[in-house]
């Protein structure tokens, strides 16, 4: 990736670029959802950038941001230029339930990537002609890559034939067997400081669940104050 893409974008588009970041050689720009398509079109059509090679489109879920009133999801677009050999990552923030305009009109390769983001995160793309689930099936409940979707959640059986005793077959219920995930996201979002490890089970306060966050700092201060009060 290269810095000159950011410089060019800032020069040509100005205020549309909200933030820029450079980490370990990866360049990233942040734009508002309303400029999502125009920035993408500019990246593709500008002769100095000519980002003709679609690379990836994906999302990241940050449910804790929602509690602070900020948009919950990051949607990321990765593109590169064949001739110039430079890359850029474009990021936008999307609220839960908010629709993002589709990029299939700019790069047809965004088609399946957007379907996957819809399938996994439940972020809808406006103008996408074929927004169906792609990896999962239509009857699937919830969006599995959201952090508040428990990894061991059991989906209801989809009825397709009459078989007695289907309830006795695996998969078994979530309370059977040992916990599957290290982080109990339900507890974490509810503000409890619990940690689940497959090997050592439930721990409370052993390792800060929210590393370096304000919540964790506040909890640590609270604990210190309580200890000082005891002694």
């Amino acid at each position: 990736m290269s810095k000159k893409v950011i410089t060019r974008l800032q020069k040509e588009l100005g205020d549309v670029i909200l933030e820029t970041a450079s980490f370990r050689g990866d360049e990233e720009v942040v734009v508002a959802p309303k400029h999502w398509v125009s920035v993408a079109t500019f990246l593709r059509d500008d002769p100095e950038l000519s980002m003709d090679h679609f690379t990836d489109l994906t999302a990241v879920d940050w449910p804790e941001r929602e509690m602070q009133g900020e948009p919950r999801f990051d949607v990321l677009l990765l593109v590169r230029s064949l001739d110039k050999k430079h890359r850029i990552r474009v990021k936008t923030y999307v609220k839960d339930g908010e629709k993002l305009p589709t990029l299939t009109t700019v790069w047809p390769g965004a088609n399946w990537a957007e379907r996957e983001v819809w399938d996994m995160f439940g972020i809808a793309f406006e103008g996408h002609k074929d927004l169906r689930r792609i990896l999962l099936y239509e009857e699937f409940e919830g969006f599995p890559l959201r952090k508040d979707y428990p990894i061991d959640r059991v989906q209801p059986l989809v009825e397709y034939r009459d078989v007695d005793d289907t309830l006795k077959l695996p998969p078994f219920g979530i309370e059977e067997g040992q916990p599957f995930a290290r982080i109990d996201w339900e507890a974490r979002l509810a503000g409890r400081d619990e940690q689940v490890s497959p090997a050592i089970g439930l721990q409370v306060g052993q390792r800060r669940a929210l590393s370096d966050s304000e919540v964790a700092e506040a909890q640590a201060e609270e604990l210190a104050a309580a200890r000082a009060g005891e002694s």
């Binding site: 679609f54 990836d56 050999k85 790069w107 990894i151 390792r207």
Partner: protein, 406 residues
Amino acid sequence: MEPADEILEEEDEALEIPADPMRLNMGPSHPAMHGTIRMVLDLDGETVMNVDVQPGYLHRGFEKSCERGTWAQVFPYADRLNYVSPMLNNVGFALAVEKLLDVKVPDRAQYYRVILGELSRICDHFTCNGASAMELGAFTPFLWLLKVRDWIWDILEKETGARMTHSFGRIGGMAAPPTEGFKDDVRAIIPEIRKVVGEAESLLLGNRIFLDRTQGVGKLPKERALALGVTGPVLRSTGVAYDVRKDHPYLVYDRFDFDIPVGTDGDNWDRFMVRMEEVRQSMRIIEQALEQMPDEGPVSVDDPRIMLPEKREVYTTIEATIAHFKLVMEGLKPPKGAVYSFTEGGNGELGFYIVSDGSGTPYRVRVRPPCWFNLQATREMLMGDMIADIIPTFGSINMIGGECDR
């Protein structure tokens, strides 16, 4: 029996020929398909008018599973992405985390990764080409090419302990140094592989059936391929010389002299030939890497925060015991941030977009599977072709279910 024209005259509506396209389901478990995939075809006679490719039958929740363990626990999952060349996935993920940690593995490990990776690439290309030929009725090349895969697997088994899912990569190096006879073993099979490539080509390239079934079938134009995000041999067959090893060199690929084969039409024939030529180029890389690889030296970084201590130390010193415990129970903790790291996998650009929140557990691991985008382009390759062309075209995409569906 009355002549047909008389029936037509008598009963106008009785013999109405249906004008709608026929809808046909192919898969998800079709005997001539590499993975479990469903295609819903709209057919006009034998011509494919429309096709809906439906992946997802091998979805195991790779990305979700990565979010529950430590960073090191992703390796076995990464193996099972592209199970035809697991070493490339292993190293790809290790490089992503190393980029996040900003560490560079020692030279010896880099060459070791290159050699094992290129051996895996030969496996991958041979499996694809052999299977494609077999689906067109040529069974002997399949056996010839899989013979090579077995030789390579013998070497990989000696090095890693497993024939297929090695889990041999580590963050910051490799699990073990090369065995004593490693270089000789690899040097011994290279001329044999060269011979097999020639033999397999002489079996197929003059075969009329093979030529008819592959040449001009499943074409993909260059511009469409780029816009659809196609990478790897499928993109190179359309005439675009994009190879991550050349365009964005990682490991020590900038130290080798090798060529990027390209096709012209982007048809099945070009994809087959590009893969065959890439095997030759991989062998060139391996030969140069064997020459340059140092015989002595560590294969992992010397950093107790990243690498597990020696087993002997763990049992005898308290420091190593603690370090071991912390690394195993909590996992190594990369700094906060996100990186996109990409390597040339068996099928194209294998990217890992990883996000760390500073804890020992990955916050998000996104795999950019090359197959996913190659498979997306299959629709355009198949439209207008005959139904029988689906099998060779789909075979030449080399869709690997584990990687595509994750």
